[in-house]
Symmetry: C2
Subunit: 314 residues, 2 copies
Amino acid sequence: MEVVFTFNIKDHQKENLRKTFRDVTFHFDEKMEGTKMETATVIVTYGDDVDDGALDRAKSLKWLMVASAGMEKIPFASIAKQEILLTNVRGIHKTPMAETVLAHILALKRSLPLIYERQKNKEWSRNHSSSELKGSTAIILGPGAIGSEIGRLLQAFDVRTIGCNRSGRDCASMDEIILFADLESRLPDADYVISVLPSTPETKGLLTEAHFDSMKDSAVFMNFGRGDLLDEEILIKALKTGKIGHAVLDVFQTEPLPVENELWTLPNCTVSPHVSSLSGKYVDRALILFEENLVKFQNGGADLVNRIELDKGY
Amino acid sequence: MEVVFTFNIKDHQKENLRKTFRDVTFHFDEKMEGTKMETATVIVTYGDDVDDGALDRAKSLKWLMVASAGMEKIPFASIAKQEILLTNVRGIHKTPMAETVLAHILALKRSLPLIYERQKNKEWSRNHSSSELKGSTAIILGPGAIGSEIGRLLQAFDVRTIGCNRSGRDCASMDEIILFADLESRLPDADYVISVLPSTPETKGLLTEAHFDSMKDSAVFMNFGRGDLLDEEILIKALKTGKIGHAVLDVFQTEPLPVENELWTLPNCTVSPHVSSLSGKYVDRALILFEENLVKFQNGGADLVNRIELDKGY
């Protein structure tokens, strides 16, 4: 059986895979256009290089692993038609993403951007408006693996956590669960509104001007999910008119964020270049998941972890 | 009975005190040199204005409350001689201080200073070395109320916490306790070395060059206790030669930190102007403690919370 990676991994990681799976032939750092794809039973990719043409050429493909959580570019119809198993690495982002969200929340609460600026000017000033996270309330849009990890950490800081999802089903580390439909009426309670929602037909444009109108004027809006959750113009207006206090954005409607976009320069907006899930431990975690699934795949392919339901897209 | 504050509080806070203690006469925002001090039974101060002369004039003084945790300037000998009860507000700093420590740790781990700089240049770059706090090890020098709160939050991030104190006595939220004497041998384990030690004869100069030699070259040293814990020249040398990775300092040998001090400009040093304990909720918390102790004082003065043992200085 041939397994082809379209990205490279470290030598000790390759060696480990070859030692564990002696009956498998591994190829690394191959281009999706290359000839290796024609005989590959399994392809492991970050997802950007998968299209209908690639799937046409991959005639032996039975399982496609996308080592990323975002699946927007994946041609689901072709995958369904060719009966290819599809998995991603949902969940391995939870630690770096939750730590990133907490980093931004605490940095703002404790005035770190101001402290960094004043250091550059050698300015010793104790005049700032630092406050405490303790006792705040956060609404988390999308309380799945990542959202629940954010909730768990926020609860350690005595923050009340309100998860918001489509189904109303219970989720870990949430003091309360509300429906998307009830979001607008509950936004006035929130000091933090944090989205980690994926991009699906239901989440595109989910947040409207009415939602931002309902937020506290001190509220911090954080988008760590996908940029199409809202029309950026609505957010820019809310920031400029002081309808909300601050935004921290790791995702945008267009990435990289164009230099002419006003979000770059608004004083109450933090622009992060889609890095919240990056971590030195990322590939190691992805490989653990891959190995677990490769054993299952060799045993018939039932119960693959993080298998994508092709009709839902996540 | 007369109670004199040498600082001002908000009107609703004054009203609340007068309503709760109808038999007490309160004065606020009085100078320590003023005549009100001569008849004061209780003086509440931030501590900077207390000296032998002030104590001489305060002939009726029975209880001095210092609404601060640092007691360096307090003339203990005179207080002991005049048999004045002395209390501070130890513990009310724990929430803002622990949140500040976590803010700095996470901001560094998730590259926030770099992200802020790149935003100014509208630079979309995903090239950085963000990693995860999870799985790290922290040594906390002074695992009292504040240190334990830091430990509690670190443990929520799956950080191993090692408390280091004089006595070896057990402390909350520490996976392990070690003695000051064993610190040097355990420093090679630590990713974070965090001091919240007060200034006492035992802690002055406690950290030596040998300690910095023993730290990991990636270690982050954080001083949120007092600046006289170490000779700053040793720290500057450790930072410049890469013996340690980074320092975050909220306290210094001389405050404000003189403009000519090299710490201001070292790229791997964060200078914070002694603000880690500031919080919009500070005075409210101090007053809760004051009221609790005023009731005890009126009932004879036994068991005052946070009473200072004059021979130890803390």
